[in-house]
Amino acid sequence: MNKIFLLSVLMSFFFIRCEKVIDIEVPSIEPKLIIDASFEVLFDQTPVTSNNSVKLRLSADYFDDTIPVVTDATVFLTNLSDNSIISFTDENTDGDYEPVDSFTPLDGVAYELTVIHNNEIYKAKATKIKSSKITSIVQGEKTLFSGEEVELKISFKDDEAMKNHYLINVDRYNYLPIEDRYFNGSDYNFSYFYEDENIEFPKTIDIKLSGITQEYFTYFRILIGQSGQNAGGPFQSAPSSLLGNIINTTNEANFPLGYFHISETDTFKIELVE
């Protein structure tokens, strides 16, 4: 339950609100290294494949149109069970580093990510997190606030033996982190309301269910809040810098942003009709 989201939506229904884009001068800081490394092991496919991209960028001023990519870094992964090295390379020089040889993270193995950039070494650790399989996703008839949403009835079976956290990703940009506190072990079903102002039916969208750590769950909740953060207004809460799980071992103060995480991910395609 996201209170801030909920209340902002409620308020917008009551009164004539006027929105306009305004010019605001915002402060700027020295660029920071961004390490976006969320690996997905598509465990329900045969053979099992995985998306293992490490995206390196630099932070930019808020109103800059482009975010600079980092193409001159050294990136590798260490399998901490046998100390083997998995090398990554940025073949297309677009800042997206992929494993040189095909690679799928193993169960129960801790990996250490190392990024060397500008003579500073950044490190983070992750172990693959189990997910559950999506039982079904069907399109429903209901709407929520705007009346334009498409209802997706999502169901999956939670693993009772574990405390699970999940990240649901709908059509790339929409995320919902959930925890099994209220549905541990049950056949859980809920409605997700998908909204795309310019939707043209029929439209096929991808939905992903990933198993995540509790820390990544918290991180992502804040991330989502900040990416559409209300500044000001009665329901704002003061935002602050969002640190992930990567540390700069050379120069602690120059901390990077981003996260290294490995999840099991189940994917589902659905064609939405009018």
Binding site: V21, D36, K55, R57, A60, Y173, S186, Q236, S241
Partner: protein, 728 residues
Amino acid sequence: MPKGTYKVQVNYLGYYSIVETIILNKKITKNFKLEEESESLDEIVIKSNIEKLNVKTPQMSVNRLTSATIKQIPVVLGEADIIKSLILLPGVTSAGEGASGFNVRGGAADQNLILLDEAVVFNSSHLFGFFSVFNPDVIKDVKLYKGGIPSKYGGRLSSVLDIYQKEGNSNDFKLTGGIGLVSSRLLAEGPIEKGKSSFLIGGRASYAHLFLPLFNNENKAYFYDLNSKINYRFNDQNNLFLSTYFGKDVFGISDNFVNKYGNSVVNLRWNHLYSDKLFSNLSIIYSDYFYGLILDFVGFEWDSGITNFNLKYDFKHYINNDFKLSYGISSIYSKFNPGKIVPNRPDSGIIAEKLTDKYANEFASYIDAEHTLSDKLRVQYGIRFSNFTRLGQDELNVYKDNKPVLYDTEFKKYKAAEAIASDSFKRSDVISSFNNFEPRFSLSYTLDDQTSIKASYNRMAQYLHLLSNTSSPAPLDVWTPSGKYIKPQLLDQFAIGYFKFLKDGDYSIETEAFYKDIQNRIDYINGANLVANNEIETVILNGKARAYGLEILVKKNQGKLKGWLAYTLSKSEQLTAGRTLNEPGINDGEWYNTPYDKTHDFSINASYELNKKWKFNTNFVFQTGQPTNYPVGQYEVQSLNVPIYNDNSRNSDRLPAYHRLDISATLNPEKNNKRKWQAEWVFGIYNVYGRQNAASVNFSQNRETSRNEAVQTAIFGLVPSVTYNFKF
């Protein structure tokens, strides 16, 4: 009093004064029946006006408003509103339009003690803050203490908003009402047994949902409230009063989402005169706040709330003309329901969970003296002793080293500790107990009949905390008691003021400076989730707060043109230091602005009585923009564009300044003179020059253009309104 002939004058805010000559040659107890001022009888010039400053009493930092004044102040959509009217006074602000609660002298919204006929009201807003819960017809008067708070009051740090409901007319049956754009009101009052007992019952209901075209039939959005007061006079020495308030908000979008919340308050009060010098009031009060939510699309129902019972016995003792005592005791038993979640349909898959209920008792005793030391020097002094006891509950978590919050030095963030055990207690067990002595002192020194200097000091203790990390409280915020992990908030406030009447009281000037220091003000770790959190202690950091400022109020009390000009210059800050040297605290352990810090706050309210038929009223408000945070950069993670915020400049940016002008005109039709039915029309325009005041600035990426934008949202542009009020 020695024998002789005396002139007795009885004044009460909003009522005609009575002046009676009494020849005192034996013991007399005399009751006076005050008649309410009615606007149709404006040819009577009333020189006594209780909203007017009292230069001589030691009481300072207090503002009073009558129901009549409140009804004339132009407000959005014509809904006469106590809290929106208070905001026009110095030292009182709110987080903006549509923000619930109010802030007094840089204090938080949960630090206001709101009393309706002596009963605590937990939520003062309807519709998330657009309107306040008090029906202006039912209100006798409103008194706001911002400082120099007498020892009779306690339990909140910043202010006391003491609201009294009217008593029903004991001679005639009367109906009062109003029809507005948002809601309508109706109030009936009259004698039950003439001269002995009377009743008053008032209701108010909104119908916003009926005409808001956005809604189709499936949706609902309304509020209502019901006030009543019954009084029974046994004899000259004994009176019984029963006051109730019941209010509710309901908001729903189809069956997917339903939100309900409201207050209920009942007070039974026995007023007894032991002698002509000793008065007493014994009250039994029940107060309840409920919040409920149904989220069908996730498959659950949620409810939370707070219930309390209060027993209090207050005495007023007139020792002699120069010395008066007030004393009493009070005990409040509270039960806190932080939340309960249950599946709302058989196939929901949600497993029911009950967050642990908490129980507490707050006991207080006080004594307060009003003492005239000389013609020039008057003092009021007293002390309040309060004791707060957390009573036994289930599952009180135990943490390693007694630390529910950990600091991760590697990743530089605070995180919740895992409980290592949990204790269960019997209800009668005492988990924690706090005692506080709260001294209060104020004095006035009159320089001449028209001028005085006043000073005051008060210490207050607050044992309840509203868990809220947004800049104004939301209805689903939960109250939590002090206990093992959360300490009571303590305040010391000093104030000094200069008060002067000009032109025999036609004008008055009040100037006050204040300084407040607050211990144990809580703040929250980054990303704290306050909703349905059973281990709330794991996201709380302890800090302190301070506020200081200067207030000026210039009033014109008499004549065709009346009104005031108020200016406040102030600062309100918070500090949350690290618990050890290795921890940064919040904002690197430096002072930061509270979300309700407003440097400048300027307002004008003026009313002009053109003739018997027309009366005009206007407000102008200017405030420094609300503190906020602007991003210092951007990046992308998992296709999301994320702004970067600084960790050492919390709340240091500002929304654009807020200002607006409102006008209203009250028409008293000539037909009123010849009939019993008295009617008036109030026409208003809120925000005359249609300023788009920023309620928020939202930083996000425009999906179509993939460019980052700052989008400002304004809630109210120019809003016209019309209200019809009647009485017969």
